[in-house]
C-alpha cells in the first residue's frame, strides 16, 4: 500500500499560553487525543442518559406494569411532552455510543488476546443500542404522539417500550462475558482481574431481569425491587468502575510524542 501516509506528524511542545490555548493544542495535537475524546464522550453520554431517562422523560425509575389502562393513559397525559422532547434528544445523541464502544473494543485490542474479543464486543454493543434504548424511545414517542388513541393501544405501546428496554438483556450479558474472558486471560494487565469477576456479577444481574416478562407486580416485575432496583445499583457501580479503569488505562498508555508508528492497517 501507499508509503506516503506515514509522513511524520509535526509535534511541538504544548504552548505555555492561556488555558484556552493549551486546551486547543491538546485537542489538536495531544498524542492521546483520540482516547480522551472517546473517554469524554462516554462520560458525557452516561450523564446525558441519566438526566434524560430519569429527569426529562421520567421513564426511570420505571412506572408500574400493574397499572390499569386509564392510569397508563393518565401517565402519558402528565409526561407526554417530556417523553417526546427527551427522546428527541436521545435520537440526536444516540450515536455517542459508537466512540464509547470503540474505546472498550480498543481496551481489548491492548490485551494479549485474540482480536476476536474486541470485534465481538464492538458488534454486540453496536447492536445493543437498538433494543436497549431506541426501540423504547420509538414506542414511547409514538404513544405520546397521539394521546387520543385507543387506550388499549397506548397500553400496548407502554408494555412494548418497557419490556423491550428491560427485557432485552442477552446482548449485555454476552457482551460482559466476552469482556470478562478477555480480562481473565489477558497477560498485559490492562484491567485488574477483579474487574473481570465484576463483569460476571454484571452478567448475572442481566439474567435476573428476565422475570420482567412474566410478572406484572412484585419484586420481579420491571419496576421491582430485584429486577430493577438491585440491578440498577449493580449496573451503575459497574459503569462507574469501568469509566475510572478506562481513564487509568489511558493515563498509562505511553505513546510518546515522536512520529507516528507505522499504520498497521496499511501493511
Amino acid at each position: 500500500m501507499s508509503a506516503s501516509t506515514t509522513a511524520p506528524m509535526t509535534m511541538t511542545d504544548p504552548p505555555t499560553g492561556s488555558r484556552m490555548e493549551r486546551f486547543v493544542w491538546n485537542c489538536r495535537y495531544h498524542p492521546k487525543r483520540e482516547l480522551w475524546f472517546a473517554w469524554w464522550v462516554m462520560v458525557i453520554f452516561y450523564n446525558l442518559y441519566g438526566v434524560l431517562f430519569f429527569f426529562v422523560t421520567h421513564v426511570q425509575p420505571p412506572p408500574s406494569p400493574a397499572w390499569d389502562t386509564p392510569t397508563v393513559v393518565q401517565w402519558f397525559d402528565d409526561n407526554g411532552s417530556g417523553v417526546i422532547a427527551g427522546f428527541a434528544i436521545v435520537f440526536v445523541i444516540a450515536g455517542l455510543c459508537a466512540p464509547m464502544n470503540a474505546l472498550l473494543a480498543y481496551s481489548m485490542r491492548r490485551m494479549s488476546v485474540s482480536p476476536v474479543f474486541a470485534y465481538s464486543y464492538l458488534i454486540i454493543y453496536a447492536l445493543a443500542a437498538v433494543p436497549g434504548m431506541l426501540v423504547m424511545a420509538m414506542a414511547m414517542t409514538v404513544a405520546a404522539f397521539r394521546p387520543d388513541r385507543d387506550p388499549e393501544i397506548i397500553q400496548w405501546l407502554y408494555d412494548f417500550a418497557f419490556l423491550s428496554f428491560s427485557g432485552t438483556m442477552g446482548v449485555f450479558m454476552i457482551g460482559s462475558l466476552v469482556w470478562m474472558v478477555a480480562i481473565l486471560i489477558d497477560k498485559n494487565r490492562v484491567f485488574p482481574k477483579w474487574f473481570g469477576y465484576f463483569s460476571l456479577c454484571n452478567a448475572l444481574t442481566e439474567v435476573v431481569v428476565a422475570p420482567a416478562w412474566i410478572f406484572q407486580r412484585g419484586a420481579f416485575a420491571w419496576n421491582g425491587a430485584i429486577a430493577w432496583w438491585i440491578n440498577m445499583v449493580v449496573f451503575v457501580s459497574y459503569t462507574a468502575v469501568f469509566i475510572v479503569l478506562l481513564r487509568r488505562m489511558i493515563e498509562r498508555e505511553d505513546f510518546g510524542t515522536g512520529p507516528l508508528p507505522e499504520l498497521e492497517a496499511a501493511r
Binding site: 482481574k193 477483579w194 469477576y197 465484576f198 444481574t205 412474566i214 412484585g218 419484586a219 430485584i226
Partner: protein, 200 residues
C-alpha cells in the same frame, strides 16, 4: 494463565507462626464479597415480602420437604470439604490425590444438581410453579440463580482440574481461586437453605 504459577510462594507447612497469605487471587475475594452483598439484597427483599403476607408464605412453604433441603446441604458441604482437601493436597504436592478430590467435588456437585432438578420437577407436579405464588417465585428465583452459580462452578472446577493435570501448569493460586469460588456457592446455599426451608 500459567504465568501466575508460583507467583506467590506458599508455605510448605502451616503452623501458627507461618506467614499469612490470602488464599487464591485477592480479586476473587472481591467477587465473593460483592456477590454476597448482592444475594443479601435478594434475601432482604424475600424476607420483607414474607413478613407482609405470612400466612400465604407459610402455606406455600409447607409444600417444601425439609429432608430434601438437608440432603442438598450435606451434598454441597461434602463437595466443599472435598475441594478444601484438594487445595491442601495440591499445596503438599500430592497432585494425584488433589485431582481425585477435585473429581469428588464435581461428583457431589452433580448430586446436588440432580437432587435440585428432582425437587423442581416434584414441586412443579404439585402445582407449585414460578408464577403460582409469591413464595414459590422467590423459591424458584433463588434456587435457579444459585444453580447458575453452580453451573459456572463446574466451569471453574474444569479450570482447576486442567491446572492439576499437567506438571507444566499447576498454579496453586488458580486452584485456590477456584476453591474460593466453589465455597462461595456452598455458603450461599447454606443461607438460601435456612431462608427457604427453615425460616418461619
Amino acid at each position: 494463565m500459567t504465568d501466575l504459577a508460583g507467583a506467590s510462594p506458599r508455605p510448605e507447612q502451616l503452623s501458627d507462626e507461618h506467614p499469612k497469605f490470602v488464599p487464591g487471587q485477592p480479586d476473587m475475594w472481591m467477587f465473593v464479597l460483592f456477590e454476597t452483598l448482592l444475594f443479601t439484597g435478594y434475601f432482604s427483599v424475600y424476607l420483607v415480602s414474607r413478613t407482609q403476607d405470612r400466612e400465604a408464605f407459610l402455606g406455600a412453604q409447607a409444600d417444601l420437604d425439609l429432608r430434601v433441603g438437608v440432603f442438598n446441604t450435606i451434598a454441597l458441604l461434602l463437595s466443599s470439604w472435598a475441594i478444601a482437601g484438594c487445595v491442601q493436597a495440591a499445596r503438599n504436592g500430592d497432585y494425584p490425590s488433589a485431582l481425585k478430590k477435585a473429581f469428588l467435588t464435581a461428583t457431589f456437585g452433580v448430586v446436588f444438581l440432580v437432587s435440585k432438578i428432582v425437587e423442581w420437577v416434584r414441586e412443579t407436579r404439585m402445582g407449585n410453579t414460578f408464577t403460582s405464588d409469591e413464595f414459590f417465585s422467590h423459591y424458584y428465583f433463588l434456587t435457579s440463580i444459585h444453580c447458575i452459580h453452580l453451573l459456572i462452578g463446574f466451569v471453574v472446577l474444569g479450570v482447576v482440574i486442567y491446572q492439576l493435570r499437567s506438571p507444566a501448569r499447576r498454579s496453586q493460586q488458580l486452584v485456590e481461586t477456584g476453591a474460593t469460588y466453589w465455597h462461595t456457592v456452598d455458603f450461599l446455599w447454606v443461607l438460601i437453605f435456612a431462608l427457604l426451608y427453615v425460616v418461619r
